[in-house]
Amino acid sequence: MAAAWRRPEIFIFIVGVVMGISWLGYFFYLPELDATVKLMQTWAVGIATFALVLGFLSAARIHLYYIRRRTPGMWPFSAWLFFFTAVATIAGLYSETTGFYAWQFKWVYTPLGATLYATTGFYICSAAYRAFRARSLEAGILLVAGILVMLGNCTIGEVLWKDIPTINEWLQLYGQAPFIRSIMVTAALGLILYALRVMAGIERGYLGALGAGGGGG
C-alpha cells in the first residue's frame, strides 16, 4: 500500500488537476474558483519556503562529509559555513532589520555580490572578442553590426559620423527585435506544449523516464 502512494502517476494526477484549475482560473471569470486558485498559489509559496530548509539540509550533508573526512582544502570552508550559518540564524532571529544580521547583509553580502556582478564586464569583453573574430561571412556581419551598435551607444560614435546613432537604432529596432520576438513566441508555444505534456502525464523526462536507449538521431 505504501508503495502505491509512491507511484509517480498519483503525483502527475495531482499536478494535472492543480494545473487544470489554475488554467481555468486564468482564462475564465469564475468567482467560485478564485478562492481555490489563490489558495493553491499560497501553497506554492509555502512549499517554496520549506524547500529552503531542504536546500540547507542538502548543503549540510555535503559539508558535514568534508568536515568528517577532513578533505584538504575544503573542510575549513565547510566549518566556516556552519559557523556563519549559526551566527546569521541567531542574529536573524534577534532582528532582521537591525544589528549584526542587517550589518553583514548590507556591508558583506551585498558588496561581495556586486563585486562579482561587476566582473561580468570583463567576461563580456572576452566573449565578444571570440565571437567577433571574422572567421566567416556571418561572423564578419556580426562584427560590423557589433561595432556600429557599440559606437552608437557611445558619444564618440556621433562625433565620428552623425548617422551612427540612427544606424544603431535601426539595427536594434528592425534588425534585432523581430528575431527576439519570434524566439519569444516559439518559446511560449514550446512552453504551452510542455505544460500540456506534463499535465497529461506524457512528459516524464523530469521523473527520470527518458527511455532506455536515449540519444537523438
Binding site: 506554492a44 517554496a48 536546500g55 567576461y123 512528459e203 523516464a209 536515449g214 540519444g215
Partner: protein, 272 residues
C-alpha cells in the same frame, strides 16, 4: 454545444480569448498528430545539434579522464522557485540532466551538479539516481555530487571554483540563465571545457551563442526531452507545435496586410 460556446464567450477574461483558442487548437493538433503517428505516418523531427553533441561531450570527458559539469543557472532559484515563470525551464532541463547523467554512468564519467533551486533538489537527485539505475550502476550514484548554493552570486563563485579545481572536460549550462551565462560560459572556455548551453531567456541568448560550442535556443529546450525519448506522443507534440507556428505565421502575414489596408479584424481578434 452552442450553449456551452455562448457561456464560454460570456465568462472568458477580456484579452485572453485568443490565447485560449490557441491552447485548444494546440491540444487538438496534438491529438491529431498522435493519431497520425499511430496510423504509421512518419513525422519529420529536425535535428537538434546541441542534443546530438552531448554524447560527444561526455565521450570527450571519458577520454580525458575529467568530470562533466551541469547547472540549471539562476532562473527558478529565487522568488517562487519552481512555481515561478522560470520554473518550467528548470524542469525541462532536468530531463536533459537525466540524459547527461545516463551517459556519465555509461562511460564512467564523474558528474558535478551546481544549483541554487532548493525545491528542485529532490527532483535532481531522483533524475540522476534513475539515470544510474537505467545503466545498471545504482551503486555509483552519490548524492554529494549535487552542490546547493543559496544565491546567484554564491552559485557563480562556486561554479568558478569548481572549474578551477576540477577542470571539467564538458559543461552544460541549461535552464533559466541570467548574468551567469557569460561568466561561467567564459570560465568554462578558460579551462578548455566543451560547452553546451541552452535557455529560453532571450536576454541571455547572445551570451550563450558567443561562449558555447552548441546552444539550445528557446523552444528547443522544451523539445529536448521529446527529441531524446522519441516517444510517439512526445514527437506528436513537437509536430503539433510546428503546425500552430505555421498558423501563427499566416495570421501575422494576413494581419500585416489587413492592418495596412485599414481593416482591424486580426488586431481585434488578438484583443478578444
Amino acid at each position: 454545444m452552442v450553449g456551452a460556446l455562448n457561456l464560454a464567450m460570456e465568462i472568458i477574461v477580456q484579452g485572453r480569448g485568443f490565447q485560449f483558442v490557441i491552447l485548444l487548437m494546440t491540444a487538438i493538433f496534438l491529438y491529431i498528430a498522435y493519431r497520425l503517428l499511430k496510423m504509421g505516418k512518419e513525422i519529420y523531427l529536425r535535428r537538434l545539434p546541441a542534443i546530438d553533441a552531448i554524447e560527444e561531450a561526455i565521450g570527450r570527458a571519458a577520454e580525458m579522464g575529467k568530470p562533466a559539469h551541469y547547472t540549471y543557472g539562476a532562473g527558478g532559484g529565487w522568488g517562487g522557485g519552481l512555481a515561478s515563470h522560470q520554473g518550467p525551464q528548470v524542469v525541462a532541463s532536468s530531463a536533459i540532466l537525466g540524459y547527461v547523467a545516463q551517459l556519465c554512468a555509461r562511460y564512467d564519467v564523474r558528474l558535478i551538479v551546481n544549483m541554487m533551486q532548493a525545491d528542485a533538489i529532490p527532483l535532481t537527485e531522483e533524475v540522476i539516481r534513475l539515470a544510474y539505475l537505467r545503466e545498471g550502476k545504482p551503486e555509483k550514484f552519490d548524492p554529494k555530487i549535487i552542490n546547493y548554493f543559496p544565491g546567484q552570486s554564491p552559485m557563480v563563485t562556486g561554479i568558478l571554483g569548481t572549474f578551477q579545481r576540477e577542470r571539467p572536460a564538458a559543461s552544460f549550462h541549461i535552464g533559466g540563465l541570467y548574468y551567469e551565462s557569460v561568466v561561467i560560459g567564459e570560465a568554462a572556455k578558460f579551462v578548455g571545457a566543451f560547452l553546451v548551453a541552452g535557455t529560453a531567456n532571450t536576454h541571455q541568448l547572445a551570451f550563450i551563442v558567443a561562449t558555447s560550442d552548441y546552444v539550445l535556443i528557446g523552444e528547443e529546450l522544451y523539445a529536448a526531452a521529446a527529441y531524446i525519448s522519441r516517444e510517439p506522443m512526445q514527437v506528436a507534440s513537437i509536430a503539433s507545435e510546428d503546425w500552430v507556428k505555421f498558423i501563427l505565421m499566416a495570421i501575422t502575414v494576413i494581419g500585416m496586410i489587413l492592418e495596412s489596408a485599414g481593416i482591424h479584424v486580426i488586431s481585434n481578434m488578438l484583443k478578444w
